[in-house]
Symmetry: C2
Subunit: 144 residues, 2 copies
DNA sequence: ATTTATCCTACCTTGTCAATAGGAAAAGCG
DNA sequence: CGCTTTTCCTATTGACAAGGTAGGATAAAT
């Protein structure tokens, strides 16, 4: 399915910041952009959104940069996705009444698939994502 | 998350056809469009795609219309989605090497969420979708 | 021959994604 | 103070896809 680069870049940036936060360092837009290979002007907007969602703290000027607001272990992936991509975890819009089978199908399939995503991203934290780098091997924990 | 109307309309149309197929009737574009409240010219294109994917059989002219190619119990939802919305169940595209954490994050989160969808829609059939109208109450059967 | 249906292709309008650009504001440093 | 470095914020743009609309060609039944 389709994922926005914004979500992808944002998660990578957050992970990057988290790693540097552990050492008490701040990360600047330029640094992150270079490490993660992202346009730094585009990344600027993404970091702005993450700050407005209270996921990161910014300081301006020399020696400025970004650090995490909370430890990575309490940041849920769904928080990040919600901040960056309003539609990816959003409820499917209600549908007018007189529409045959459509309403039922939507509330059956769509909501289920949606719920599966939400359940998964609600439980997974940024720390887990970073720690393993690869996929967590807890297959079977999350259930539709 | 975002689902295309094409997939929504297509599933509703297929369900509609399935119901009428059971009684040996064919359903025409116009009839389906009215029952499901869809633009019939748009639906035409959708039914064309479903036919090209061998999900339905069409007959032209008077007394023409559409019927299912196979019983609804062997049509998997993933077949329908694949026929109508090439991206919804598609693998996430590979990413260039030198890209920091992005590659790992993508292959972790993205692929998992994607796999969850696929697993779910691979197991569910059109018949189940119709039969229950509401959600199947087999929560817990499908696992990420 | 005429009606009724599918078949097929082209087109159009609107919105969103992914950037790019450029400047304002603040923080540190000499 | 003045300069640099950083974040902050808004506007704009190009490309592309979604969601239709339109119109004619083709085939089957009566």
């Amino acid at each position: 399915m389709k994922f926005t680069t914004k979500a992808e870049y944002g998660l990578a940036a957050l992970a990057d910041i988290a790693i540097h936060s552990e050492q008490g360092e701040k990360a600047t837009t330029i640094e992150i952009a270079q490490r993660q290979n992202i346009s730094h002007k585009y990344l600027e907007q993404i970091l702005l959104q993450l700050r407005q969602a209270n996921l990161i703290r910014a300081s301006k000027g020399q020696k400025g940069g970004y650090s995490l607001m909370q430890p990575a272990s309490v940041i849920h992936i769904s928080d990040v996705l919600n901040a960056l991509d309003s539609s990816i975890l959003a409820d499917v819009p209600e549908i007018e009444e007189n529409s045959g089978l459509r309403r039922n199908i939507k509330s059956c399939l769509w909501d289920k698939m949606n719920g599966a995503m939400r359940n998964y991203t609600d439980h997974m934290t940024l720390a887990e994502l970073i720690e393993q780098g690869i996929c967590p091997d807890d297959s079977g924990s999350y259930v539709i």
